[in-house]
């Protein structure tokens, strides 16, 4: 597999672009591996890449029941930021941000990371105070953060509703200039290609249907393509953690919920930033193709169906127009949904499990895309060494027993409110 470069582009252009190879090898299962990762999403693929790159563990397989990029990694709204409040989250997401900043170079694949900046609008003096608190915490951790007053926000994004009749007048905003978006498919493809170059087997169309045990220890998996042995097994199946967990006999603090995303017809460049609406759960950005990409609330009840309902559609459009009245005549082109593990404290789980040989990476709720590089980095560390990386000490499965929750949203143990 050749490296991508300006020279490879020119060479292929000169020969009619007929010589490009597939980005990663099509692999078939070997009888056993040192490490098997279940789930070929962003997190699973990143884990495989860092296992090989950072730890030299190359006898690795990623098993994906569908195709690479078909899960949440290809369904999200691609917002990347590190404006967290709680110790444990703050440092972890900033580490991820730093990895994003070098990711295209590290993978030799353009993930189109665009640091266009993110604003979260404040709609009361109290909310702006809370944002100032958050900004101070971010800055004391070396993360960029600015508090903008109403005039500064207006200068930056004049098209928001600054009129006398705005339902929730804008008082100001918190701004992170290094936040932005990335091309989500490219993240999956880039990690898949880079891992495959290191010898990792990426096996698509291979569903895990059970676990192989020797006494209590997990020693492999049953799949639709036969039994495969493994030294260690890492679970990174996004919204299906409970389903796989059940096969292994785990009881988990997780519910699966649906989140939708929406995109409008393309328009000329209008929105230069990622904008989150502080008066409701709503955010938007403009894609490279020109569509405005929206996100909002969960559908709000347990679901494993990757299609949404129209109640949330209406709420999201109401919020969009309240924030930005000038888009009221745009047509929505598409909406779609993804299933996510919701935890009772809105924070992820990267942890050993009570089942020997089985490690868990899940519970990302609806913010896990931004975490992809750091999640893979730390999970690879755990699978290679058996030890917990210092950045993820707060993400252990036992925190719900010990009471050391990371309840970033402050919504209590109600997964559908997080």
């Amino acid at each position: 597999m050749g490296r991508y470069s300006i020279f490879s582009l020119l060479r292929h252009a000169a020969t009619g672009n007929r010589g490009w190879q597939r980005a990663w090898r099509a692999a078939s299962p070997k009888p056993s591996y040192d490490v098997i990762i279940i789930g070929g999403g962003g997190h699973g693929l990143a884990t495989a890449f860092y296992l090989a790159e950072n730890h030299g563990v190359r006898n690795v397989a990623v098993l994906e029941k569908g195709y690479i990029g078909g899960g949440n990694v290809g369904r999200n709204t691609t917002v990347i930021r590190s404006n967290y409040l709680l110790d444990g989250n703050t440092q972890f997401y900033e580490y991820s941000m730093k990895l994003w900043e070098g990711l295209s170079a590290a993978l030799n694949f353009n993930v189109m990371f665009s640091q266009r900046g993110q604003l979260v609008t404040a709609h009361s003096a109290d909310q702006l105070d809370a944002f100032a608190h958050r900004a101070n915490i971010m800055r004391s951790n070396g993360i960029d953060a600015d508090i903008l007053d109403r005039q500064q926000v207006r200068k930056l994004v004049p098209y928001l509703d600054f009129s006398e009749t705005a339902r929730f007048p804008i008082h100001g905003a918190i701004f992170q200039g290094r936040a932005g978006t990335a091309r989500h498919d490219a993240v999956a493809w880039g990690y898949a290609r880079a891992a495959s170059c290191h010898g990792v087997d990426i096996i698509e169309g291979c569903e895990v249907t059970g676990f192989l045990r020797d006494d209590e220890r997990i020693v492999g998996v049953e799949t639709t393509r036969g039994h495969i042995g493994a030294g260690r097994v890492g679970l990174a199946v996004a919204g299906h953690t409970s389903v796989l967990g059940q096969m292994a006999g785990l009881e988990l603090p997780i519910e699966s919920h649906l989140l939708q995303a929406f995109v409008t017809e393309p328009v000329k460049p209008l929105v230069n930033h990622v904008i989150a609406y502080g008066a409701d759960h709503f955010y938007l950005s403009q894609s490279d193709k020109g569509g405005l990409v929206f996100g909002g609330n969960l559908d709000g009840y347990n679901s494993y169906s990757q299609r949404g309902n129209t109640g949330v559609l209406r709420e999201v459009c109401e919020a969009a127009i309240a924030l930005m009245p000038n888009i009221s005549r745009l047509r929505l082109l598409r909406h779609w949904g993804g299933i996510m593990d919701m935890t009772p404290d809105a924070s992820p789980i990267i942890s050993p499990t009570p089942v020997e040989g089985l490690y868990l990476n899940g519970g990302w709720c609806y913010g896990g895309f931004k975490a992809t590089p750091a999640s893979g980095w730390c999970f690879a560390h755990m699978l290679a060494t058996g030890k917990t990386h210092p950045l993820i000490e707060g993400y252990g499965l036992d925190r719900f027993r010990t009471g050391y929750l990371l309840d970033e949203a402050g919504a209590g143990p109600f997964a559908w409110l997080q």
């Binding site: 299906h240 409970s242 389903v243 059940q246 009881e251 988990l252 603090p253 997780i254 519910e255 699966s256 709000g300 009840y301 347990n302 679901s303 494993y304 169906s305 309902n309 129209t310 109640g311 009772p344 719900f400 027993r401 143990p413 109600f414 997964a415 559908w416």
Partner: protein, 88 residues
């Protein structure tokens, strides 16, 4: 949209209801001092891919708490009953 057949009010759009989560979870007895029982009650969920028993409250109607048996993949609803009768 789900359509929930409220035993008081008839078939209504789920936008009239508030979700209350897993109805299969049992609250430990008040004097139960086993932390594991409380941990499981507060946090552990079976989260089935398939039939799920769940609470919904008809907030914009009769305000009754209901137990709805719903398939989490197809969203088809098998049964709806009053939660107070079921839990009596």
């Amino acid at each position: 949209m789900l359509r929930i057949e409220c035993p008081c009010c008839g078939t209504r759009d789920h936008g009239e209801f508030r979700y209350g989560g897993d109805a299969a979870v049992e609250r430990p007895a008040h004097d139960n001092s086993d932390p594991d029982a409380w941990y499981r009650y507060v946090y552990v969920r079976s989260n089935p891919k398939g039939l799920h028993q769940e609470f919904w409250q008809h907030v914009l109607g009769c305000r009754q708490w209901l137990v709805v048996e719903r398939d989490t993949v197809t969203h088809s609803i098998r049964s709806v009953s009053f939660s107070r009768r079921q839990r009596a």
